[in-house]
Symmetry: C2
Subunit: 433 residues, 2 copies
């Protein structure tokens, strides 16, 4: 069969990895795909020392690739929002299929991009945009197609998981580990995207749409970072049998869809709690299959390239399938998307870990538990730490409750004269049903 010609836009980390995987494994890939996949052109701002592009057609103009009549598939690996959007839209306009690793682009501009692609009868594949080399999009979109997905929870930011792992294993402070992660190149100079959960929210937005068949709604995702987590809270969580992870969680409820990224206590014997370092994992709960988990590297040149190239092969395979029989971009047919609302965070439900600083005086705990009781919040466990000082830390685990009620309770408890400072509150998920 005729070779398929691809153009690579961006020869940075992932672009370089993609170039190397496509060239090194060319034979193995064509044994699978049934035809050769040829790199026709590369758009790059500068050489990547990891790649030997001698003899290749290169350009500094990405739009040259997007409009090159020889090219069947444009691989967008430049990152960012606006230029990437223009590039992808131009490629679609020119009848080209697109493969991208850009979660920000898909989470923010995906609806518009998929609509354009549908109109032009081309595919936009984005496996690499979530959890790097783990084929999680394929798993949810195809492998679990028989299920009504109930919820999914994932460690989908490697930097954040590295920091949480180091803090737990070595009792180190957040700022200290972040500095190390920056020195190691795991974290950006501006770490906001990673540690404040924005990157994870991009990915979760995509997974949520695939799981529940809703349009992409990044702006409605709730994000809370890990910068306020202390080694102390991690230690108390351990004592209670839990581990703190920065999770993206999306859940279908009767009222709508929960879409939230925040630090979370999970039981320490579940597999997800034992995903350490920069690794990613996503746990999916479906009504037929029950729980399945997908684990692997969430970043890295060739790990991400693995997903990019798998997408290229997928696109090649469906070139002759008619549009209506292809796997839909968001797993569900565009005409069958759901209008279930994404819930504001105060309408979501969760159990809670609370840490209070109380003056050591008889009756304080009674006031606290009465307020919780009035809000219908049941307490699962309490630890009151012995101390020689005049104030004691009190740690509580509650049962599930709507966040709105917890907010009210916390406001009232913080107003008690014997409660000092702000209450630390971390959500708890059993991941059991």
């Amino acid at each position: 069969m005729k070779p398929v010609k691809v153009g690579i836009c961006g020869l940075g980390t992932v672009g370089g990895g993609t170039f190397n995987v496509l060239t090194r494994n060319a034979e193995e890939i064509s044994r699978r795909a049934g035809r050769h996949i040829v790199i026709e052109q590369i758009a790059m701002r500068r050489d990547n020392p990891a790649c030997d592009t001698s003899g290749m057609q290169t350009t500094t103009d990405i739009f040259e690739v997007a409009t090159n009549p020889e090219i069947d598939i444009v691989i967008e690996l430049i990152g960012g929002y606006d230029t990437a959007r223009d590039l992808v839209m131009t490629a679609i306009e020119n009848g080209k299929h697109v493969v991208t690793a850009n979660k920000a682009l898909i989470a923010v501009h995906g609806n518009e991009i998929f609509e354009a692609a549908q109109e032009k009868n081309v595919m936009v594949a984005f496996e690499a945009s979530v959890a790097g080399g783990i084929p999680i999009i394929k798993a949810i979109r195809e492998g679990l197609a028989a299920n009504q997905i109930n919820w999914l929870a994932g460690i989908i930011n490697g930097t954040g998981n590295f920091i949480m792992t180091e803090m737990r294993e070595k009792g180190r402070e957040f700022a200290d580990v972040l500095q190390e992660a920056q020195d190691l190149g795991y974290a950006e100079a501006d770490p906001t995207f990673d540690v404040e959960g924005i990157d994870a929210a991009h990915k979760l937005t995509i997974l949520s749409s695939l799981a529940f068949g809703i349009p992409l709604q990044f702006s409605k995702a709730y994000t809370e970072g890990i910068s306020k987590i202390t080694p102390q809270d991690i230690q108390y969580a351990e004592e209670l049998g839990y581990r703190v992870k920065h999770l993206g969680i999306t859940r279908r409820t009767d009222k709508g869809i929960e879409l939230r990224v925040h630090p979370t206590l999970i039981p320490k014997d579940v597999l997800l709690a034992n995903v350490n370092g920069v690794m990613n994992a996503v746990l999916v709960d479906g009504d037929a299959v029950g729980q399945t988990l997908y684990y692997g590297p969430g970043a890295g040149a060739e790990a991400t390239a693995s997903a990019v190239v798998a997408d290229v092969v997928d696109v090649v395979r469906t070139l002759t399938a008619d549009r209506d029989n292809r796997v839909p971009h968001l797993a569900f047919q565009p005409s069958a998307l759901s209008d279930a609302p994404v819930l504001p965070v105060d309408e979501t439900t969760s159990a809670y870990y609370l840490r209070l600083q109380a003056v050591e005086r008889p009756g304080v705990l009674a006031y606290v538990t009465r307020i919780l009781g009035e809000k219908g919040i049941n307490i699962e466990a309490i630890i009151q730490k012995q101390t020689t000082e005049a104030q004691v830390p009190v740690i509580m685990l509650t049962q599930r409750v709507e966040e709105r009620m917890m907010n009210e309770a916390i406001r009232e408890i913080e107003a008690l004269p014997d409660i000092l400072g702000e209450i630390v509150r971390i959500r708890v998920e059993q991941l059991a049903d």
Copy 2:
């Protein structure tokens, strides 16, 4: 679009689950697939009380389904070898696509079945045949298509893993736990298939072909069961930092393909070591992606049905793709299969756990280590247990060596006058590269 009509052959556990998932999730599935999937006919020997088949067209003759001109896809869920083979070949002969959960059938008759399917331009899908609801076949065949797979290792028999987990957690004997598993319905009355590794070898044979592009060669798989594992060995392994799991392992080497099922010591902090009870998991090492792991329920009515129905949706989606662009049955194009040989077990390479019973006399250990040294076997760790008796257990971990050399060494060591009885030998894998 026109509905797709399926016929279900077999309404036992998995058949009943498939019926229920297809009916309960009909709407969700058609939102994904873009058309309705309708159960046209069911062949069953008796009613399944879990299924309401009233108003359905039923028969006791599976071949009626295989030849029913109304039916597009035949779902084979009767199990076994010969009748299942005849049924599947008849369905193919009649131009029908086939979905099956039957690992024995695929491992033993797959080559012949796929050849017939290829000729008649129909698909035979078999995701449910390995690891139940985990979409592992899709992951290897499509999700990791960019990679040269180096090796994979899996817990792919839930009964065996349940037994190993109970033995470790409670220090129980094999026979005792097996009895309980039989009482719970996890193990068959004749447990040979599960505990001797035959079922796992069926599944591993399939995974190996998908990973390396070799024809199915079940007869060349090495299988060793768990019936000789003692709580004592599990305990010693823990002391050394390892856990004993019944693994299927297949690896590409310069000389050929390793294909082996046996109890294995793996480091207890790797995720695979923490897969407990009846759960399954497969760890795959690819040259681009590195390690990814897939975890979930390996059996059960609806978990397996999840994979069966996902296959149905997959088949529906590629109905209009021309044959050469479809995902090949064994991941690689039929014309591109490899003739790499499956290695006899004595040509495979592994590290070893050895347990010897030695007379407590100076110099015994020197004899043993000299024999190992002569065979080029390096020792990683030795534990000599203190005892009040005249004989002591000696536990050793060796580095990797060809099995042939280990066999020779064991023969010589067992011939030493101060070594009593047979040496216990369990393979060790670090799962690190």
